[in-house]
Symmetry: C2
Protein backbone atom coordinates (compact mmCIF):
# COMPACT_ATOMS: atom_id res chain seq x y z
CA UNK A 1 0.00 0.00 0.00
CA UNK A 2 1.52 3.28 -1.07
CA UNK A 3 -0.02 5.45 1.60
CA UNK A 4 1.40 8.71 0.32
CA UNK A 5 -0.28 8.19 -3.03
CA UNK A 6 -3.77 8.50 -1.52
CA UNK A 7 -5.27 11.86 -2.41
CA UNK A 8 -6.59 14.17 0.26
CA UNK A 9 -10.10 13.87 -1.19
CA UNK A 10 -10.04 10.10 -0.60
CA UNK A 11 -8.61 10.47 2.89
CA UNK A 12 -11.42 12.87 3.71
CA UNK A 13 -14.04 10.40 2.53
CA UNK A 14 -12.73 7.50 4.62
CA UNK A 15 -14.21 8.76 7.92
CA UNK A 16 -17.54 9.16 6.13
CA UNK A 17 -17.42 5.51 5.03
CA UNK A 18 -16.32 4.51 8.51
CA UNK A 19 -19.21 6.27 10.19
CA UNK A 20 -21.80 4.49 8.07
CA UNK A 21 -20.02 1.12 8.36
CA UNK A 22 -20.03 1.49 12.15
CA UNK A 23 -23.76 2.12 11.93
CA UNK A 24 -24.23 -1.05 9.83
CA UNK A 25 -22.12 -3.06 12.24
CA UNK A 26 -24.25 -1.87 15.15
CA UNK A 27 -27.31 -3.10 13.24
CA UNK A 28 -25.51 -6.44 12.78
CA UNK A 29 -25.32 -6.05 9.01
CA UNK A 30 -22.31 -8.08 7.81
CA UNK A 31 -21.97 -7.17 4.10
CA UNK A 32 -22.63 -4.05 2.06
CA UNK A 33 -22.50 -3.27 -1.66
CA UNK A 34 -20.93 -0.19 -3.23
CA UNK A 35 -24.42 0.58 -4.58
CA UNK A 36 -25.83 0.73 -1.08
CA UNK A 37 -22.91 2.77 0.23
CA UNK A 38 -23.32 5.09 -2.73
CA UNK A 39 -27.01 5.61 -2.18
CA UNK A 40 -26.57 6.27 1.53
CA UNK A 41 -23.54 8.53 1.18
CA UNK A 42 -24.62 10.30 -2.00
CA UNK A 43 -21.55 9.16 -3.88
CA UNK A 44 -21.13 7.37 -7.18
CA UNK A 45 -20.69 3.58 -6.53
CA UNK A 46 -17.83 3.52 -9.05
CA UNK A 47 -16.14 6.26 -7.04
CA UNK A 48 -16.54 4.22 -3.87
CA UNK A 49 -15.10 1.09 -5.49
CA UNK A 50 -12.18 3.15 -6.76
CA UNK A 51 -11.59 4.68 -3.31
CA UNK A 52 -11.64 1.34 -1.55
CA UNK A 53 -9.47 -0.33 -4.21
CA UNK A 54 -6.60 1.89 -3.01
CA UNK A 55 -6.36 -0.37 -0.01
CA UNK A 56 -6.45 -3.71 -1.76
CA UNK A 57 -9.19 -5.52 -3.56
CA UNK A 58 -11.39 -6.79 -0.77
CA UNK A 59 -14.86 -6.43 -2.28
CA UNK A 60 -16.41 -9.54 -3.81
CA UNK A 61 -18.60 -9.30 -6.91
CA UNK A 62 -22.25 -10.00 -6.17
CA UNK A 63 -21.62 -10.17 -2.44
CA UNK A 64 -20.10 -6.81 -1.64
CA UNK A 65 -17.79 -5.75 1.13
CA UNK A 66 -17.41 -7.42 4.49
CA UNK A 67 -18.46 -4.66 6.90
CA UNK A 68 -16.18 -5.60 9.78
CA UNK A 69 -13.17 -6.16 7.54
CA UNK A 70 -13.72 -2.76 5.94
CA UNK A 71 -14.04 -1.10 9.35
CA UNK A 72 -10.78 -2.66 10.51
CA UNK A 73 -9.03 -1.71 7.28
CA UNK A 74 -10.15 1.93 7.35
CA UNK A 75 -9.36 2.27 11.03
CA UNK A 76 -5.89 0.93 10.31
CA UNK A 77 -5.35 3.27 7.37
CA UNK A 78 -6.53 6.26 9.41
CA UNK A 79 -4.28 5.04 12.25
CA UNK A 80 -7.16 5.04 14.69
CA UNK A 81 -6.56 1.39 15.50
CA UNK A 82 -4.40 3.01 18.16
CA UNK A 83 -5.56 5.57 20.74
CA UNK A 84 -4.91 9.15 19.57
CA UNK A 85 -5.15 11.92 22.12
CA UNK A 86 -6.24 15.43 21.23
CA UNK A 87 -5.84 18.78 23.02
CA UNK A 88 -8.21 21.69 22.44
CA UNK A 89 -7.19 25.31 23.03
CA UNK A 90 -9.95 27.90 23.36
CA UNK A 91 -12.80 27.08 25.74
CA UNK A 92 -15.36 29.50 24.29
CA UNK A 93 -18.69 28.47 22.78
CA UNK A 94 -17.07 26.65 19.87
CA UNK A 95 -14.49 24.90 22.07
CA UNK A 96 -17.21 23.75 24.44
CA UNK A 97 -19.35 22.53 21.56
CA UNK A 98 -16.46 20.53 20.13
CA UNK A 99 -15.54 19.08 23.50
CA UNK A 100 -19.10 17.87 23.76
CA UNK A 101 -18.62 16.02 20.47
CA UNK A 102 -16.31 13.66 22.33
CA UNK A 103 -19.30 11.37 22.60
CA UNK A 104 -19.13 10.86 18.82
CA UNK A 105 -15.42 10.21 18.79
CA UNK A 106 -15.77 6.52 19.41
CA UNK A 107 -12.86 5.69 17.19
CA UNK A 108 -10.01 5.86 19.63
CA UNK A 109 -9.68 9.58 19.25
CA UNK A 110 -10.46 11.69 22.26
CA UNK A 111 -10.10 15.26 23.42
CA UNK A 112 -8.21 14.59 26.65
CA UNK A 113 -7.35 18.18 27.66
CA UNK A 114 -8.81 21.67 27.20
CA UNK A 115 -6.83 24.88 27.60
CA UNK A 116 -7.55 28.60 27.73
CA UNK A 117 -5.57 31.71 28.60
CA UNK A 118 -8.50 33.53 30.21
CA UNK A 119 -8.63 33.35 34.02
CA UNK A 120 -12.43 33.45 33.75
CA UNK A 121 -12.40 30.11 31.91
CA UNK A 122 -9.55 28.27 33.65
CA UNK A 123 -10.90 25.76 36.15
CA UNK A 124 -14.29 25.47 34.48
CA UNK A 125 -15.68 22.00 33.91
CA UNK A 126 -16.60 20.77 30.40
CA UNK A 127 -18.01 17.29 30.80
CA UNK A 128 -15.21 15.33 32.45
CA UNK A 129 -12.48 17.86 31.60
CA UNK A 130 -11.27 20.86 33.57
CA UNK A 131 -10.07 23.89 31.56
CA UNK A 132 -6.31 24.22 32.17
CA UNK A 133 -4.10 27.31 31.87
CA UNK A 134 -1.91 27.56 28.74
CA UNK A 135 1.16 27.25 30.93
CA UNK A 136 0.33 23.57 31.42
CA UNK A 137 0.14 22.77 27.69
CA UNK A 138 3.70 21.47 27.26
CA UNK A 139 3.65 19.21 30.29
CA UNK A 140 0.19 17.86 29.54
CA UNK A 141 0.99 17.15 25.88
CA UNK A 142 4.02 15.14 26.95
CA UNK A 143 2.33 13.37 29.85
CA UNK A 144 -0.77 12.34 27.88
CA UNK A 145 1.05 11.72 24.56
CA UNK A 146 -1.18 14.23 22.77
CA UNK A 147 -0.53 14.24 19.02
CA UNK A 148 -3.30 16.42 17.59
CA UNK A 149 -4.36 19.94 18.55
CA UNK A 150 -7.62 21.78 17.91
CA UNK A 151 -7.56 25.59 17.81
CA UNK A 152 -10.77 27.44 18.71
CA UNK A 153 -9.35 30.80 19.79
CA UNK A 154 -10.01 34.17 18.07
CA UNK A 155 -8.03 34.72 14.85
CA UNK A 156 -5.43 37.06 16.35
CA UNK A 157 -4.40 34.42 18.90
CA UNK A 158 -4.37 31.43 16.54
CA UNK A 159 -0.79 31.64 15.25
CA UNK A 160 0.59 32.00 18.76
CA UNK A 161 -1.40 28.99 19.98
CA UNK A 162 -0.23 26.96 16.96
CA UNK A 163 3.40 27.85 17.75
CA UNK A 164 2.88 26.72 21.33
CA UNK A 165 1.29 23.47 20.19
CA UNK A 166 4.09 22.71 17.76
CA UNK A 167 6.68 23.58 20.38
CA UNK A 168 4.97 21.11 22.69
CA UNK A 169 5.35 18.30 20.18
CA UNK A 170 1.90 18.28 18.61
CA UNK A 171 2.09 16.86 15.05
CA UNK A 172 -1.17 17.95 13.43
CA UNK A 173 -3.61 20.79 13.97
CA UNK A 174 -7.26 21.32 13.15
CA UNK A 175 -7.73 25.09 12.99
CA UNK A 176 -11.15 26.67 13.41
CA UNK A 177 -9.86 30.25 13.63
CA UNK A 178 -10.50 32.27 10.46
CA UNK A 179 -6.82 32.83 9.79
CA UNK A 180 -4.09 31.03 7.88
CA UNK A 181 -1.57 29.37 10.16
CA UNK A 182 2.09 29.09 9.18
CA UNK A 183 3.85 25.93 10.31
CA UNK A 184 6.87 23.80 9.40
CA UNK A 185 6.27 21.44 6.48
CA UNK A 186 6.16 18.32 8.65
CA UNK A 187 3.22 19.68 10.67
CA UNK A 188 -0.15 18.97 9.07
CA UNK A 189 -2.65 21.81 9.35
CA UNK A 190 -6.29 21.43 8.34
CA UNK A 191 -8.38 24.55 8.31
CA UNK A 192 -12.06 24.26 9.09
CA UNK A 193 -13.35 27.71 8.46
CA UNK A 194 -17.06 27.84 8.61
CA UNK A 195 -17.21 31.10 6.69
CA UNK A 196 -15.40 29.42 3.79
CA UNK A 197 -17.94 26.61 3.78
CA UNK A 198 -20.74 29.10 3.87
CA UNK A 199 -19.38 31.33 1.11
CA UNK A 200 -18.67 28.39 -1.19
CA UNK A 201 -22.24 27.22 -0.63
CA UNK A 202 -23.53 30.48 -2.11
CA UNK A 203 -21.90 29.55 -5.40
CA UNK A 204 -24.39 26.71 -5.79
CA UNK A 205 -27.50 28.76 -5.12
CA UNK A 206 -28.43 29.04 -8.76
CA UNK A 207 -25.95 26.76 -10.55
CA UNK A 208 -26.52 23.72 -8.36
CA UNK A 209 -29.26 22.02 -10.38
CA UNK A 210 -27.03 20.17 -12.83
CA UNK A 211 -24.22 19.49 -10.39
CA UNK A 212 -24.66 16.15 -8.68
CA UNK A 213 -21.95 16.35 -6.03
CA UNK A 214 -19.23 14.98 -8.28
CA UNK A 215 -16.68 15.84 -5.63
CA UNK A 216 -13.08 16.74 -6.23
CA UNK A 217 -11.57 14.29 -8.60
Amino acid sequence: MKADKISEAVVRRLPVYLRYLNELHKREVTTVSSQELGQKLDLNPAQIRKDLAYFGDFGRKGIGYDVMYLIDKIRHILKIDQQINVALVGAGNLGQALSNYNAYLKDNMKIVAVFDSSPAKIGRQINTLTVQPMEELRDTVRKLHIRIGIITVPDFEAQHVADEMIGSGIEAILNFAPTIIKAPAHIRIHATDFTTDLLSLAYYLENGKDDNEDDDQ
Copy 2:
Protein backbone atom coordinates in the same frame (compact mmCIF):
# COMPACT_ATOMS: atom_id res chain seq x y z
CA MET B 1 -17.87 31.39 -18.20
CA LYS B 2 -19.15 27.86 -17.81
CA ALA B 3 -20.01 28.04 -14.16
CA ASP B 4 -21.06 24.43 -13.83
CA LYS B 5 -17.67 23.26 -15.04
CA ILE B 6 -15.90 24.65 -11.99
CA SER B 7 -14.93 21.83 -9.67
CA GLU B 8 -15.97 21.82 -6.05
CA ALA B 9 -12.31 21.99 -4.97
CA VAL B 10 -11.89 25.29 -6.84
CA VAL B 11 -15.15 26.70 -5.48
CA ARG B 12 -13.98 25.88 -1.99
CA ARG B 13 -10.70 27.73 -2.54
CA LEU B 14 -12.33 30.93 -3.79
CA PRO B 15 -13.41 32.15 -0.33
CA VAL B 16 -9.84 31.53 0.85
CA TYR B 17 -8.50 33.74 -1.95
CA LEU B 18 -11.17 36.30 -1.19
CA ARG B 19 -10.30 36.51 2.48
CA TYR B 20 -6.65 37.25 1.78
CA LEU B 21 -7.47 39.67 -1.04
CA ASN B 22 -9.78 41.58 1.32
CA GLU B 23 -6.89 41.76 3.76
CA LEU B 24 -4.59 43.14 1.01
CA HIS B 25 -7.23 45.67 -0.02
CA LYS B 26 -7.55 46.86 3.58
CA ARG B 27 -3.77 47.39 3.59
CA GLU B 28 -4.17 49.39 0.35
CA VAL B 29 -2.18 46.86 -1.67
CA THR B 30 -3.38 47.11 -5.29
CA THR B 31 -1.66 44.20 -7.08
CA VAL B 32 -0.62 40.70 -6.05
CA SER B 33 1.32 37.93 -7.79
CA SER B 34 0.35 34.25 -7.83
CA GLN B 35 3.69 33.61 -6.09
CA GLU B 36 2.70 35.82 -3.19
CA LEU B 37 -0.79 34.33 -3.01
CA GLY B 38 0.77 30.89 -3.11
CA GLN B 39 3.20 31.60 -0.32
CA LYS B 40 0.54 33.12 1.90
CA LEU B 41 -2.10 30.48 1.23
CA ASP B 42 0.23 27.50 1.07
CA LEU B 43 -0.81 26.63 -2.46
CA ASN B 44 1.19 26.06 -5.62
CA PRO B 45 1.28 29.32 -7.68
CA ALA B 46 0.56 27.30 -10.84
CA GLN B 47 -2.54 25.93 -9.11
CA ILE B 48 -3.65 29.44 -8.25
CA ARG B 49 -3.15 30.68 -11.82
CA LYS B 50 -5.13 27.68 -13.06
CA ASP B 51 -7.95 28.34 -10.58
CA LEU B 52 -8.22 31.99 -11.48
CA ALA B 53 -7.98 31.32 -15.20
CA TYR B 54 -11.40 29.65 -14.96
CA PHE B 55 -12.86 33.11 -14.70
CA GLY B 56 -11.05 34.77 -17.55
CA ASP B 57 -7.43 35.73 -18.01
CA PHE B 58 -7.09 38.81 -15.87
CA GLY B 59 -3.60 38.40 -14.47
CA ARG B 60 -0.79 40.29 -16.21
CA LYS B 61 2.68 38.77 -16.52
CA GLY B 62 5.25 40.56 -14.37
CA ILE B 63 2.58 42.72 -12.73
CA GLY B 64 0.20 40.20 -11.24
CA TYR B 65 -3.46 40.45 -10.40
CA ASP B 66 -5.38 43.62 -9.70
CA VAL B 67 -6.59 43.07 -6.13
CA MET B 68 -9.85 44.99 -6.38
CA TYR B 69 -10.73 43.48 -9.74
CA LEU B 70 -10.11 39.99 -8.38
CA ILE B 71 -12.23 40.72 -5.29
CA ASP B 72 -15.12 41.90 -7.47
CA LYS B 73 -14.78 38.93 -9.78
CA ILE B 74 -14.73 36.33 -6.97
CA ARG B 75 -17.60 38.02 -5.17
CA HIS B 76 -19.57 37.91 -8.39
CA ILE B 77 -18.76 34.24 -9.02
CA LEU B 78 -19.70 33.32 -5.47
CA LYS B 79 -22.87 35.42 -5.87
CA ILE B 80 -22.06 37.44 -2.80
CA ASP B 81 -22.23 40.67 -4.80
CA GLN B 82 -25.84 40.42 -3.63
CA GLN B 83 -27.03 40.14 -0.03
CA ILE B 84 -27.61 36.50 0.99
CA ASN B 85 -29.54 35.85 4.18
CA VAL B 86 -28.91 32.80 6.34
CA ALA B 87 -31.01 31.09 9.03
CA LEU B 88 -29.46 28.97 11.77
CA VAL B 89 -31.37 26.23 13.58
CA GLY B 90 -29.98 24.97 16.89
CA ALA B 91 -28.99 27.61 19.45
CA GLY B 92 -26.66 25.42 21.53
CA ASN B 93 -22.96 26.10 22.04
CA LEU B 94 -22.12 25.51 18.39
CA GLY B 95 -25.03 27.60 17.12
CA GLN B 96 -24.07 30.44 19.40
CA ALA B 97 -20.44 30.21 18.33
CA LEU B 98 -21.40 30.37 14.66
CA SER B 99 -23.80 33.25 15.21
CA ASN B 100 -20.93 35.11 16.76
CA TYR B 101 -18.94 34.58 13.55
CA ASN B 102 -21.33 37.01 11.90
CA ALA B 103 -18.68 39.63 12.49
CA TYR B 104 -16.46 37.83 9.95
CA LEU B 105 -19.18 37.53 7.37
CA LYS B 106 -18.47 40.87 5.82
CA ASP B 107 -19.26 39.61 2.37
CA ASN B 108 -22.96 40.27 2.16
CA MET B 109 -23.79 37.04 3.89
CA LYS B 110 -25.44 37.26 7.26
CA ILE B 111 -27.16 35.03 9.75
CA VAL B 112 -30.40 36.99 10.10
CA ALA B 113 -32.45 34.56 12.21
CA VAL B 114 -31.79 31.84 14.81
CA PHE B 115 -34.27 29.11 15.73
CA ASP B 116 -34.58 26.41 18.35
CA SER B 117 -37.31 24.03 19.47
CA SER B 118 -36.36 24.15 23.16
CA PRO B 119 -38.49 26.50 25.29
CA ALA B 120 -35.39 27.10 27.43
CA LYS B 121 -33.61 28.67 24.46
CA ILE B 122 -36.44 30.48 22.72
CA GLY B 123 -36.34 34.20 23.47
CA ARG B 124 -32.65 34.21 24.34
CA GLN B 125 -30.49 36.94 22.87
CA ILE B 126 -27.41 36.10 20.70
CA ASN B 127 -25.82 39.39 19.77
CA THR B 128 -28.54 41.25 17.92
CA LEU B 129 -30.71 38.18 17.28
CA THR B 130 -33.45 36.67 19.42
CA VAL B 131 -33.86 32.88 19.30
CA GLN B 132 -37.21 32.16 17.64
CA PRO B 133 -39.43 29.05 17.93
CA MET B 134 -39.33 26.59 15.00
CA GLU B 135 -42.95 27.42 14.26
CA GLU B 136 -41.81 30.80 12.93
CA LEU B 137 -39.27 29.32 10.44
CA ARG B 138 -41.49 29.33 7.35
CA ASP B 139 -42.76 32.88 7.81
CA THR B 140 -39.34 34.27 8.65
CA VAL B 141 -37.65 32.54 5.69
CA ARG B 142 -40.20 34.09 3.36
CA LYS B 143 -40.22 37.52 4.98
CA LEU B 144 -36.42 37.87 5.09
CA HIS B 145 -35.75 36.05 1.79
CA ILE B 146 -33.50 33.54 3.53
CA ARG B 147 -31.79 31.24 1.02
CA ILE B 148 -29.26 29.29 3.10
CA GLY B 149 -29.77 27.30 6.30
CA ILE B 150 -27.25 26.18 8.92
CA ILE B 151 -28.06 23.10 11.01
CA THR B 152 -26.51 22.85 14.46
CA VAL B 153 -28.97 20.52 16.19
CA PRO B 154 -28.17 17.01 17.51
CA ASP B 155 -27.91 14.30 14.84
CA PHE B 156 -31.32 12.75 15.51
CA GLU B 157 -33.07 16.08 14.82
CA ALA B 158 -31.07 17.07 11.74
CA GLN B 159 -33.14 15.38 9.02
CA HIS B 160 -36.36 16.83 10.41
CA VAL B 161 -34.88 20.33 10.55
CA ALA B 162 -33.56 19.95 6.99
CA ASP B 163 -37.04 18.92 5.79
CA GLU B 164 -38.53 21.98 7.50
CA MET B 165 -35.90 24.23 5.92
CA ILE B 166 -36.47 22.82 2.45
CA GLY B 167 -40.23 23.09 2.92
CA SER B 168 -39.73 26.74 3.81
CA GLY B 169 -37.93 27.44 0.54
CA ILE B 170 -34.31 27.29 1.67
CA GLU B 171 -32.05 26.32 -1.26
CA ALA B 172 -28.80 25.23 0.36
CA ILE B 173 -27.83 23.83 3.74
CA LEU B 174 -24.63 23.73 5.74
CA ASN B 175 -24.99 20.75 8.07
CA PHE B 176 -22.91 20.50 11.25
CA ALA B 177 -24.80 17.53 12.66
CA PRO B 178 -22.87 14.25 12.39
CA THR B 179 -25.46 12.62 10.17
CA ILE B 180 -26.07 12.36 6.45
CA ILE B 181 -29.02 14.44 5.29
CA LYS B 182 -31.22 13.30 2.44
CA ALA B 183 -32.57 16.06 0.21
CA PRO B 184 -33.94 16.56 -3.31
CA ALA B 185 -31.23 16.87 -5.97
CA HIS B 186 -31.75 20.62 -6.46
CA ILE B 187 -30.95 21.34 -2.80
CA ARG B 188 -27.23 21.72 -2.13
CA ILE B 189 -26.07 20.17 1.13
CA HIS B 190 -22.55 20.68 2.49
CA ALA B 191 -21.58 18.64 5.51
CA THR B 192 -19.12 20.13 7.96
CA ASP B 193 -18.50 17.32 10.33
CA PHE B 194 -15.73 18.09 12.69
CA THR B 195 -15.18 14.44 13.55
CA THR B 196 -14.53 13.73 9.86
CA ASP B 197 -11.92 16.48 9.75
CA LEU B 198 -10.33 15.17 12.89
CA LEU B 199 -10.25 11.53 11.80
CA SER B 200 -8.79 12.38 8.40
CA LEU B 201 -6.09 14.40 10.14
CA ALA B 202 -4.92 11.25 11.94
CA TYR B 203 -4.04 9.73 8.57
CA TYR B 204 -1.25 12.28 8.19
CA LEU B 205 0.32 11.71 11.59
CA GLU B 206 3.13 9.57 10.26
CA ASN B 207 2.77 9.81 6.48
CA GLY B 208 2.60 13.61 6.36
CA LYS B 209 6.29 14.37 5.89
CA ASP B 210 6.43 13.91 2.12
CA ASP B 211 2.97 15.27 1.44
CA ASN B 212 3.06 18.97 0.73
CA GLU B 213 -0.65 19.78 0.75
CA ASP B 214 -1.10 18.98 -2.92
CA ASP B 215 -4.85 19.28 -2.48
CA ASP B 216 -7.46 17.42 -4.41
CA GLN B 217 -6.68 17.67 -8.05
